[in-house]
C-alpha cells in the first residue's frame, strides 16, 4: 500500500476528477457539520424554553392562579 499521488497538488486535482471528488467530500462534511450545529442549537433552545415554562408556571402559582 502506497500513496497514489505524486504531490499534494496532484492529490487535489486527481487528473481532472479532483473537483468532483473533493466537492462531494465537502458537501458531506458540510452537511453533517450543519446538522451537528443544528442539533446542538436545538438542544439549547429546548432547554431554554423549558426553563421559561417552569418560570411561567411558578409565577402563575405565586399569583394564586392554577396556570
Amino acid at each position: 500500500m502506497h500513496f497514489r499521488f505524486s504531490s499534494f497538488s496532484d492529490f487535489m486535482t486527481m487528473s481532472g476528477h479532483g473537483i468532483y471528488v473533493w466537492s462531494a467530500f465537502f458537501v458531506v462534511v458540510a452537511s453533517i457539520a450543519g446538522l451537528l450545529i443544528f442539533s446542538v442549537a436545538k438542544r439549547k433552545k429546548i432547554k431554554h424554553d423549558i426553563r421559561e415554562y417552569y418560570r411561567r408556571v411558578e409565577l402563575a402559582s405565586q399569583n394564586g392562579g392554577d396556570e
Binding site: M14, G16, Y20, S23, A24, V28, L35, L36, S39, Y54
Partner: protein
C-alpha cells in the same frame, strides 16, 4: 429477565441517563473511522481502471446511501415499537431518526449527482434508482413536516408511525431497482454471500466509511432523541431537577 432491558430502554429517564455517557465515545469513533476510511480511500486505494479517480466519490456516496435505506428501517421499526407496545420512547427515536435519515438521503443524491457528471455525462439522469431515492427524500421530508402539523402529540406520533411503516415498501424497491429496471446504476458490487465485484484494496477503506456513517447515524439519533426526551418529559420531577442544576 430477558425482556427487562427492552422495558428499561422504553423508559425515557433510563434512556436519557444511560445513553448520555455513550455519546462522546460514539462521536469520537465515528470521526476516527471516517478519517481512516477517507485518507485510505482518497489517497491509498488504487485508481479505478475505467473511471480513474472519480470513483473515489464512492467512499462518501455509498455510506450515505446505505444509511439512508438502513436508517429508514430503524425509523419505521422505532415507530412500530411505539405503536405496538405503546412505548413512547419509540416515537421519540422515530422522530430523531427522520432528521438524520433525510440528510443522508440528500447526501446520497447530491454525491451521486456529482459522481454522475464525469461518469455518465450529466448531473441528473432519469434512472429508476435515482427517482425512487428522490421519492424517499420526499417521504422523509413529509414525515418531518407531518410531525409538526399536529397540535396533539399522540395524533402526530400515530400518523407519522403509520406513514413511516407504509413507506418501508420503498426500501426493497430501491435496493432491487437496479435488477428490475434497465439502469445506469451498476448492480450490487458488494455481496454478503459469494464473491464481491469490487477488489479488496478498494473495498476495505469503504468498510471504514460505511461503518463511520452508521456510527454517526447512531450519534445523531441518540443525541436528538435525548433532546426530545427533555421536551416531552418537561413536566416530570427528574427533568425539573436536571435543568435546575444548570
Amino acid at each position: 429477565m430477558a425482556w427487562q432491558w427492552f422495558h428499561q430502554l422504553g423508559s425515557p429517564k433510563w434512556f436519557y441517563d444511560k445513553t448520555g455517557p455513550w455519546l462522546p465515545w460514539i462521536g469520537c469513533s465515528a470521526i476516527l473511522l471516517f478519517a481512516i476510511g477517507i485518507v485510505w480511500g482518497m489517497g491509498y486505494a488504487p485508481a479505478e481502471r475505467l473511471q480513474g479517480n472519480s470513483y473515489r466519490i464512492m467512499y462518501v456516496h455509498f455510506p450515505a446511501s446505505a444509511v439512508s435505506l438502513g436508517g429508514y428501517y430503524v425509523m419505521a421499526i422505532a415507530g412500530a415499537v411505539g405503536l405496538i407496545w405503546r412505548i413512547k420512547m419509540g416515537f421519540m427515536v422515530m422522530k430523531s431518526a427522520a432528521m438524520i435519515g433525510a440528510v443522508m438521503t440528500f447526501l446520497s443524491l447530491a454525491t451521486g449527482s456529482i459522481w454522475a457528471k464525469p461518469t455518465w455525462g450529466a448531473y441528473w439522469v432519469w434512472d429508476a434508482r435515482i427517482l425512487f431515492m428522490l421519492i424517499l427524500l420526499l417521504l422523509y421530508i413529509g414525515i418531518i413536516l407531518l410531525m409538526e402539523t399536529y397540535r396533539n402529540q399522540d395524533s402526530a406520533d400515530f400518523m407519522v408511525a403509520i406513514l413511516a411503516l407504509v413507506g418501508t415498501v420503498l426500501v426493497p424497491v430501491i435496493y432491487k431497482s437496479v435488477d428490475w429496471w434497465y439502469s445506469l446504476h451498476q448492480t450490487a458490487s458488494i455481496k454478503l454471500t459469494g464473491k464481491s465485484a469490487i477488489d479488496a484494496s478498494m473495498a476495505r477503506p469503504l468498510i471504514f466509511t460505511i461503518t463511520s456513517a452508521y456510527v454517526a447515524y447512531a450519534w445523531f439519533v441518540i443525541y436528538n432523541a435525548r433532546t426530545e426526551v427533555l421536551f416531552r418529559e418537561r413536566k416530570t420531577k427528574w427533568v425539573k431537577d436536571l435543568l435546575a442544576k444548570g
